[in-house]
Symmetry: C3
Subunit: 184 residues, 3 copies
């Protein structure tokens, strides 16, 4: 009886403190352990104003660059860009990225993005909403996945950008490493 009681006391003590510990652990995210991860490519073909570019163009300038600098400060672009799983512009898109970016630095290029990844495939239906600074001079930079719908209901996470290539001002490609830490 005493033996049982002692063992039992320890177990009961452990149980008394365990709920809060478990709850804390359950709500704590670890950067290296996303619950969902997708590596995607984003292609932005800015409309150059010519008739023959209309078929290919995926984005337009909504506000022109200011005269403050020669780094496009203030230029705002609205996009509806294909998202592919490899780096080919003409691969079948697995999603669209709908949103905007603008340039926001005087002495070099940096940008700021807010957009929605719209998935409508056999694999995924739903959206992810993303915003943050694209510090283009950094090798990688992190934006926030601030919400999701459909298959990504209530998701949160990090979207890591990496410049994959660019051709002048009219085409660039980003590698987007999407890591979700809240999945439901």
């Amino acid at each position: 009886m005493t033996t049982f009681s002692q063992k039992s006391s320890f177990i009961i003590w452990a149980l008394i403190i365990s709920p809060s510990v478990s709850a804390t652990r359950a709500s704590k995210f670890q950067a290296e352990k996303p619950c969902k991860r997708m590596v995607l490519y984003y292609h932005d073909k800015l409309f150059d104003g010519t008739e023959k570019d209309k078929a290919n163009a995926t984005s337009v300038t909504a506000a022109n660059a200011s005269k403050l600098s020669d780094t496009n400060f203030g230029m705002l672009v609205v996009f509806n860009d294909p998202i592919t799983i490899d780096d080919k512009f003409h691969s079948p898109p697995v999603a669209r990225a709908q949103g905007f970016y603008f340039y926001d630095r005087k002495d070099t290029y940096t940008a700021w993005f807010a957009y929605t990844l719209v998935f409508n495939s056999s694999e995924h239906k739903g959206t992810l909403n993303i915003m943050g600074a694209d510090l283009m001079t950094e090798k990688t930079r992190d934006l926030s996945v601030v919400g999701g719908t459909g298959d990504f209901f209530m998701a949160r996470g990090i979207a890591t950008f990496q410049t994959d290539t660019f051709q002048g001002s009219y085409y660039f490609r980003l590698k987007m490493d999407i890591k979700l830490y809240e999945c439901y």
Copy 2:
């Protein structure tokens, strides 16, 4: 004693596994069980540039549509729109929606929204911050409620849009079904 010990063992085993299960359950949201729900109507009366429209207009074009297509691609509108609990434009507003949208598709109309619902009534004081794609060709579409303040402190959820009516380019009404899954 043995009988008690056996029963007790089962209960203690159940308790050992229950905390993590409970924590998971507590943090898991169910789409059909929001902790708060509000069905609201959003009225957007775009300024047509005339003197007599100044009293009624609730939004303005900040950037004009591009020449890429005839679907307003790139047109950006800033709004301060009344929110009502029925579909009448002149009903007393229960909130204001302050934010912007832009059109972002070549072959049909889709838009992208980011805005704040500002409540300042006897029933609610506070804000909800919302962003996402408005895929206008879908019957309903989901945006993310990414944060809240005041009565909606730290809220998150889903805002489901449904086009209620539109009259040309200068008036449209959306039904916004706001479902919060995090309420504090």
Copy 3:
């Protein structure tokens, strides 16, 4: 034996209900108990178009005000503003605020902000993503911290704005009281 069993029953009953209570408590945020707090000053020096302002200017007008009113309705500004820990424009910045605001009211001034606080100092590396209405006529107003990266991985919280000073249309300073309730 009976005595132990009775006490034990009570404890076990308490344990059975405790996990969900604990989980609820652990996920509930209290407005007065942020896990991280920073009081920062934001300086916005809008480019006036002159050559001599180019060195000081930190923001540019991307879209001009509409003719709907004389309160800048529709005017959209892109900024890359220094963040300091005191109210001096020329103090060494501890972060940059990169984003945009626009004015969105007919009868007085209100604005809407979305931006990223970019920290790159010995103390903090990472970003906070913030959006919401800046109801300028209120003494204080709350925006949402909707995500974070780096040192602020997956953060959420509230950013309380207070107008500290303004000089005409071309300089204003905000006190930003950043309170995080999710820290990892």
